[in-house]
């Protein structure tokens, strides 16, 4: 167990370093910097040099890289060039929106995905099974933003049940959940399709297992058998769910754009086009931490849920 944790920690640090270096170099390889963009069409070379000085972009890449890594080690993500406040403050402002969206989407995809998958797997060839297959194929074939537009058109514009865009001006509040439902469904649709497919396959596999036959021969029926199947099949869904959860954060980039939500996705896109290096780096750190953390959590959960793995 200690070896496992240590291995995880080392791989986390290496992943973080590699990703950060790539982001650092990649961002600076893009033509233009925050000073050119802030200066716009009006500032002359002299003004742009002055802005660059003010933003701390005047030094060499090497010096900036060393300074940046040192800061990260100390837990300091620097100041946003555009917003002139700490990156951590920027992230803390935006994270709740993305987190609310992602967790809502996660719950929706879990309920729909596991629900449909179980029902389909328990009655292969039935109506629910046929619907699930159709739904999964469609949901995985079509791009996310397309569902977003479709939902906006139907529920927000035609029916007028939901607001067209974004959060209320007051920001994240209980009213905001109403604003978050359509984007959460948009995110959840392709993910629930994947979960449903895997759940169905796992349930089908369990249905053929010996213990099910034994249980049935002992006279157990419907619900009780399903419970047995579920407890054996569902831990297998966990790694996929972890992947989905990590992927949700990248999925939010597109969906936040479509629905005009001020979350991390909107932040990173804005930061890239403004060449706000510290913010891009900060979001990257956060993404790596979340991704690695969630996968690690899923491993642990799977260990806890499936006693057979613990001896291995």
């Amino acid at each position: 167990m200690t070896r496992y944790l240590l291995g995880q920690a080392v791989s986390f640090v290496v992943t973080l370093w590699v990703v950060l270096t790539l982001v650092f170099v990649g961002m600076r390889a893009l033509p233009g910097d925050a000073a050119t963009i802030l200066g716009g069409m009006d500032a002359g070379a002299e003004q742009i040099a002055a802005i660059r000085e003010r933003l701390g972009l005047a030094g060499s890449w090497g010096a900036q890289y060393v300074g940046f890594l040192g800061d990260v080690v100390r837990g300091d993500l620097g100041d946003s060039l555009r917003e002139r406040r700490p990156v951590t403050a920027v992230l803390l402002d935006r994270l709740p929106v993305t987190l609310a969206l992602a967790s809502l989407a996660f719950v929706i995809s879990l309920v729909i995905g596991v629900g449909l998958g179980m029902l389909a797997g328990l009655r292969p060839g039935g109506a629910v099974d046929r619907f699930t297959t159709l739904f999964a194929t469609a949901a995985l074939a079509l791009p996310e933003f397309w569902f977003g537009f479709l939902l906006i058109l139907f529920f927000a514009v035609d029916l007028g049940w939901f607001p067209v865009i974004g959060l209320p001006p007051s920001g994240l509040s209980w009213q905001a959940s109403w604003h978050l439902l359509l984007p959460a469904f948009t995110l959840a649709i392709p993910r629930s399709a994947q979960v449903a497919r895997l759940t169905r396959a796992l349930v089908l596999e369990q249905r053929r297992a010996d213990y099910v036959r034994t249980a049935r021969s002992k006279g157990l029926t419907g619900g009780a058998v399903a419970r047995h199947i579920a407890s054996n099949a569902l831990p297998g869904v966990l790694p996929l769910l972890a992947l989905e959860l990590g992927g949700l954060l990248t999925g939010t980039i597109v969906v936040e754009q479509v629905f005009g939500l001020p979350g991390l996705g909107a932040t990173i896109l804005g930061a890239i086009s403004a060449r706000d290096y510290p913010v891009v780096q900060g979001v990257t750190v956060l993404a790596v931490v979340v991704y690695v953390g969630v996968n690690w959590l899923a491993d642990l959960l799977q260990l806890a849920a499936d006693p057979r793995l613990r001896t291995a």
Partner: protein, 507 residues
Amino acid sequence: MEQARLYHRSPARRRWRSVLFAVAFAAVLGSATAQTLTLAMSAQPDTLDPQLTSATAAFQVAKSIYDTLVEVDRNGEIVPALAESYEVGDDALSYTFHLVETTFHDGTPLDAQDVVATLDRIRDPDTASPKASEFQAITSVEAVDDRTVVVHLSEPAPALIASLASGWGAILPSEKVASGHDFGNEPVGTGPFSFVSWQRDNAVTLAANPDYYQGAPQVDEVVIRFVPDSAVQLQGLMTGEFQVIDTVAAADQELIESNPDLELVRDPSGLALVAALNTRREALADPRVRQALNLAVDSQTVLDVAYGGGTPIGTFMEAGSPWMPDDVEPFGFDPEAARALLAEAGWDSGVTLDLALPQPYENHIQAGQMIQDYLRDVGVNAEIRIVEWGVWLSDIYAGAHDYDITVIGHTGKLDPTGRLDGYGTEATNYPGFDDPEVAQWLEEGASETDVSARREVYANVLRRLHEGAPFIYLGTPSRVHARAANLEGFWITPLLDSFDFRTAHFE
């Protein structure tokens, strides 16, 4: 600091004024229902510090929070604002401003020290303002008494008054300037609305300032939402979530005009839309080639299709500008003449031009595609390359000037120096236009104080820019916005494009 305090008026008087305003306000409204005006805009500010930005979107929002010494009225004239009057010294080397009585949103009264602190701040190299060069003629700013400020100049600078009337001339409270206040995130001004909150990528909320020196605004709250997608803007306008939208796709104009609850407003903008031609490139070095390219493009059609309408121009100044010389006509659309001129110039039809278009601007991209077609008709090949905005700024507009043709709009300027500065010398303008005589005229124009002499100087420059054609001149597009039909009194400042909510109200 103590000295400055002595000049402050008693808070009791201010309180009385607030009460009077509040009573008047309540009387006007009749009922106690709070009115919110929501506007959707497509771009968003980078900062709300008026001196640290050059972005139109920032000034559009900041306009309601801050005031300037002088401002632009609905006719585009510069009129008194925080300075109720001003005099120019005989030698044109000083400006004396007399300030109105008003207070900042933090409760401190406006006085001459605030003007001194603001103008010193924008000129300070440590501030690194993108607009600092517009104030370089100032040698010192002096507070004569609490209501009088004198700005001393090293040389006559007739364009200064335009800079003071622009968003970056916003007056900030001196106490907060001294303490290094973060105006970018928490703006404090004397404007008609005070800052409430800003959620990036979402909204800015502003509250009416009941003590506003020109009278309290008629709506209680203004919410500016950032909505990049024009289709979503339109949907929000139709469902009543927004009362004003700043972008209307050309295809949607009819839909709005046919809806009695909505109104489409078409104003002339301050933009000069051009397809810049890189005169440094061998293929484009001959002025005859550049003139031919002008003749090859039907600019009226480009304006109609890509920009939803507008007026063609024949030189580097927006249509309707008082500086536009009467005798310069747009080139007109004449592919036959274009072909003849190209043949005369010995155009090599084997050349393919690099047509670089800025990625965030859909209408420039569409215009570029149309230009590509028009050029193909006269035997000029152009290959479209779409570049991201940061790349456009650093590689095309500045730096290596890596392009043959690019499409862009130059935003409105209150004074021709803002538009034309640097267009006589190869190194200081992106098409690389070089003409020593133009450079000489521009130098004269910058310090000439006689208005008619100045007009003649700039007319010379503009005529030369027509003949030399470092641009394919497209025109000045209409600025189209849409609003709820019952909204009255909202307008967009000519040339500066900033939103004015001061007299906005619902019928």
